[in-house]
């Protein structure tokens, strides 16, 4: 499909995401990685770069890289190389950052997600292991800067995409999907406020068919909301510049949430020469096939695999399957509810019904209350029971039952059937299963509406619906619409 154009320009976006790995200790030292501790209490001699200290690779961080590679279908390099990126900055204790340059640990792969109901694929270039820097604190020290090295040496995976995204919406959807994956596989806590998941967006615009335009990199986007605002602003700004006859200069920019604008930090001219070279303190990182297999065996089912299973086993549409695998809690909610809704033989229709309720009423309820699925007032047990009642036509008005369940307080889930039966009765939601009574109503409605009957017979379907409406009304909503349809059609045909 062709990309959406903005004032005749095509937008091109690539992402670099710094994912802080949820390891116990730092990437090259034994110091802990806890967030929010007193400054410089989580830094050991290695992190302070004291003379004589040397880096030693944390295997846990490598395991995280392997997991990401497995999750994204990447090549996991059997041998990768650590390199030094040399630059001076007070919160960079060694005067260089240990990173991977020419041969990264994770190569290729892709992230798949839905934008609306359209399936998108963003290709990865690579993901490499590196250490985070410390923090410079400028606020608390007049005329001086404080340095907190607690974060120094925290393991990061920098995940780099091809410039595959064509709109800010797609970029945000990609970022959300990546966020979902790294938290799903447990390599990152996903806390964007604490900087555990930091995105840089490379944005450029071009006329369709033209080569890539000059890009500007928006640094440190740490919320999905700002991400969208920043990219949208940047797109507008670049198009305006070009329309005004100015060429775009390659630059690194920051987004200011207060003004909603991006501004340049540095341009290409003052880009540093990082003098990358292989770190002689660290031998090449070898990852055996066995190690990869071990990680694979221990890994939870991946969202992609799980979604495919939901399609195959439950017969769900791909969109539903993808949406239900947004998080592990969502997916397990779904599977628990399906199990409780009815027997295995009816699994497919039950599953579709559970999915519909989850993605419809339940999702709307949670959104309006600002809750996530783990905080849902209706747990998978209740939703499963609810679907059971609806599926088996044991309730006249499904929405009313849902609402009742939402409000009801269950002290325990013992005798749940009895409790819900009582609720159905109390709310007067028992369906009209007596076909004699229904037939009586239908006959009365037919007799009372000869015009509609005549119109239907003349071929007007609308008239049929009007009759159904009358019957439903007369039954006070308790009639089963399917049954009404069948009986009415039979009688009118007769």
């Amino acid at each position: 499909m062709t990309a959406k154009l903005i004032h005749g320009y095509e937008v091109v976006i690539g992402f670099e995401t710094h994912t802080q790995l949820a390891t116990q200790s730092k990437i090259f030292s034994r110091a802990p990685t806890a967030f929010g501790a007193e400054p410089n209490t989580q830094a050991c001699a290695v992190d302070l770069a004291l003379p004589g200290t040397l880096p030693v690779m944390n295997r846990e961080a490598v395991a995280c890289a392997i997991k990401l590679g497995l999750a994204l279908g990447s090549h996991i390099a059997p041998v990768s190389i650590f390199a030094r990126k040399n630059y001076f900055y007070p919160d960079l204790p060694k005067g260089y950052q240990i990173s991977q340059f020419e041969i990264p640990v994770v190569q290729g792969g892709e992230v798949e997600f839905f934008l609306g109901d359209e399936k998108k694929t963003v290709r990865l270039v690579r993901a490499h292991l590196e250490e985070d820097a410390g923090k410079s604190l400028h606020e608390d020290f007049i005329g001086q800067s404080g340095i907190d090295l607690n974060r120094a040496g925290t393991p990061l995976l920098e995940i780099v995409t091809e410039p595959d995204m064509r709109s800010s919406e797609e970029a945000v959807a990609y970022a959300k999907e990546l966020h979902k994956i790294v938290t799903w596989i447990g390599i990152c806590d996903g806390n964007m406020q604490e900087g555990s998941f930091r995105c840089d967006a490379n944005v450029s615009v071009r006329k369709p068919g033209q080569p890539l335009g000059t890009r500007r990199e928006i640094k440190n986007l740490n919320s999905f909301k700002f991400m969208q605002q920043a990219i949208d602003y940047e797109i507008r700004w670049q198009i305006e510049q070009i329309e005004d006859g100015h060429a775009i200069q390659q630059a690194t920019v920051l987004f200011d949430p207060d003004t909603g604008e991006t501004r340049a930090m540095r341009t290409k001219e003052d880009a540093a020469d990082y003098r990358y070279f292989p770190d002689p303190d660290l031998p090449p990182l070898h990852i055996s096939e066995q190690w990869v297999q071990d990680e694979r065996a221990q890994m939870a089912e991946l969202p992609r695999t799980m979604a495919a299973r939901f399609v195959a086993d439950y017969g769900l549409p791909e969109y539903d399957a993808t949406t239900l695998t947004q998080s592990q809690s969502m997916a397990s909610y779904f599977e628990d509810a399906v199990k409780l809704a009815g027997p295995k033989e009816q699994e497919k229709p039950l599953a579709k019904m559970v999915a519909n309720w989850m993605l419809g009423e339940l999702s709307a309820t949670l959104n309006s209350r600002g809750l996530d699925i783990t905080q849902s007032p209706i747990g998978p047990e209740l939703l499963g029971m609810h679907v059971h009642y609806v599926f088996n036509q044991k309730v006249s008005n499904p929405k009313a039952l849902f609402k009742a369940l939402l409000e009801a307080e269950f002290k325990s889930f013992d005798n749940l059937v009895e409790q819900i039966d009582a609720l159905v009765k109390a709310k007067d939601l028992t369906p009209m299963n007596d076909s004699g009574a229904l037939e009586k109503i239908i006959d009365e409605v037919i007799a009372a509406n000869p015009d509609n009957v005549a119109q239907f017979r003349a071929g007007k379907d609308k008239a049929f619906n009007a009759l159904v409406g009358q019957i439903m009304k007369a039954s006070k909503g308790k009639a089963n619409p399917t049954q009404v349809n069948e009986l009415l059609r039979a009688k009118l045909a007769g």
């Binding site: 001699a45 770069a49 004291l50 004589g52 040399n86 060694k94 070279f277 002689p280």
Partner: protein
């Protein structure tokens, strides 16, 4: 036994005296501390701390009495000031680290202490181990107010070699029975040769680099310096071994008792003689001494085998690209922010960096940082650094090829004997060229030794270099020991010491 003779004893003998409790560790420590002070004009020591030394000695006396003593119990040693140590300043010979106190000990220091060695103090060296004459130290030696030359005890107007110059002098002048040194491009072997002592650099990765202030990470290696191969073997056995939790380049090769094969026969030992080590640049006096030692080997049953190390000349440019490249990055941490020297007055961050580093580093260090930054910079990396790495591999391959026809390789350590203080003062290139015979083995990561082989011009000592294949330290020490059984060069002492 009278304490005046203590400094005549080698490590092996002294350890035996201590074990037999004919001398106490405290007496031994006091004796050498006194000698260090008496001969402080040599500039060998940069720091002592008698309180700590004597406390360690008392602990060793207790261990000996309790029967829990290690193999080096009570033996006083001193460390090159490139190793970080608790209780003594750790300066790397640099103003940048003047007075710096490390919160931890280097692994090698710990291992020697675990074996029972007592630390006498820290020894002078070229700043960040960069130099071949120990003329680049920015630290005032013990007894001096300002930096002063380290003097060769065989002729005090001559350099001791470098960068482990203070280490070599301490052993040669009997200011310590044995010491540690480090060798990046010859910094153990060359000063050992110039001072008439024995030194060994093990295979790269056998001794942990943790706590060695880094010069060139892919080359730096610790080793012992002592009077004899027998003594070196004792120290080296304690120094080596894997250190996987602290140094990723430390090899998973178990510690070894290097004394075990000292006395093995060397009948039939094939000694490779590289033609390139005996060319034009080699001074005749050095050549004569080396030839004399090789004749001794033939008498002991060894066979001399002509070999070729065709890229010997290239080792100089290769080394002076790779070592400065690594150094330029290793020394970036000295930025005035966290520890060490910081300039007093500055206007902003960049000004602080510039002044701090301009004041803190000496000329040779600055020169190498600039060379290193240049060869790593964008557009030059491929032509210099990458090319150098390729040739480095070829040099290593040349050795493997040579070891097909020989067991060890022998040749001179340096083209000349120790030169006069200040002779190379304005010509760093002269220093670099003098490293030609030690650099190939360093680049290949091979173990290498210097063994006293005779005397040359001005009565100055000449060392024989022995190079072995990877992990062949025991064989080198065996060959060196057999030579020392047949000669007395290692027993000669400079007059007055």
């Amino acid at each position: 036994m009278t304490s005046t003779a203590l400094h005549d004893l080698g490590v092996a003998q002294l350890a035996a005296e201590l074990r037999e409790r004919r001398v106490s560790a405290v007496e031994a420590a006091q004796h050498f501390l006194a000698r260090a002070q008496a001969h402080q004009n040599l500039g060998a020591y940069v720091a002592v701390n008698p309180d700590i030394t004597l406390a360690q000695a008392r602990a060793q006396d207790a261990a000996i009495a309790a029967g829990t003593a290690g193999p080096l119990a009570g033996v006083p040693i001193a460390h090159k000031d490139i190793f970080v140590t608790k209780g003594f300043p750790s300066t790397a010979g640099s103003k940048m680290l003047a007075g710096y106190q490390s919160p931890f000990d280097a692994t090698v220091v710990t291992k020697l202490a675990d074996a029972g060695a007592v630390t006498l103090g820290k020894l002078n060296c070229d700043e960040f181990a960069m130099g071949s004459a120990n003329e680049n130290s920015a630290v005032a030696p013990m007894g001096f107010d300002a930096p002063a030359p380290v003097r060769n005890p065989w002729a005090t107007d001559r350099i001791p070699g470098g960068s482990s110059g203070g280490s070599a002098v301490a052993v040669a002048a009997r200011l310590a029975p044995a010491v540690t040194g480090t060798d990046t491009g010859g910094s153990i072997r060359q000063p050992a040769s110039f001072c008439g002592i024995t030194g060994i650099k093990p295979t790269y990765g056998r001794a942990s680099r943790y706590g060695m202030i880094a010069f060139a990470s892919s080359l730096d290696q610790a080793g012992p310096m002592a009077r004899s191969a027998e003594d070196c073997a004792l120290l080296l056995s304690a120094m080596c071994g894997p250190d996987p939790d602290r140094d990723s380049t430390s090899l998973d090769v178990p510690a070894e008792n290097f004394s075990a094969k000292l006395n093995d026969s060397i009948d039939g030992l094939r000694i490779g003689i590289p033609a390139e080590f005996f060319g034009e640049g080699l001074a005749p006096d050095v050549r004569a001494a080396v030839d004399g030692a090789l004749k001794e080997y033939e008498k002991l049953g060894a066979k001399l085998v002509p070999i070729s190390l065709p890229r010997t000349q290239l080792s100089i440019p290769v080394y002076y690209i790779i070592a400065p490249a690594e150094a330029s990055s290793n020394l970036s941490r000295f930025d005035g922010v966290k520890f060490g020297h910081r300039a007093k007055d500055y206007t902003d961050l960049v000004d602080m960096y510039k002044k701090t580093r301009a004041e803190g580093f000496g000329d040779e260090v600055k020169r190498r940082i600039m060379i290193g930054a240049y060869v790593l910079s964008h557009g030059y990396y491929d032509a210099y650094y990458l090319q150098a790495q390729k040739i480095r591999r070829m040099i290593a391959d040349d050795f493997q090829n040579a070891f097909k026809s020989c067991d060890v390789i022998a040749g001179p350590v340096a083209p000349t004997v120790a030169w006069k203080l200040g002779d190379h003062g304005n010509d760093p290139l002269a220093d670099y060229l003098a490293d030609i015979f030690t650099l190939p083995g360093s680049l290949a990561g091979l173990p290498g030794m210097s063994v006293p082989a005779g005397f040359g011009e001005g009565g100055m000592p000449v060392g024989l270099q022995l190079l072995g294949n990877y992990f062949q330290e025991a064989r080198l020490l065996n060959a060196a020991h057999r030579l020392q059984q047949a000669t007395d060069f290692h027993l000669r002492r400079p007059e007055g010491f």
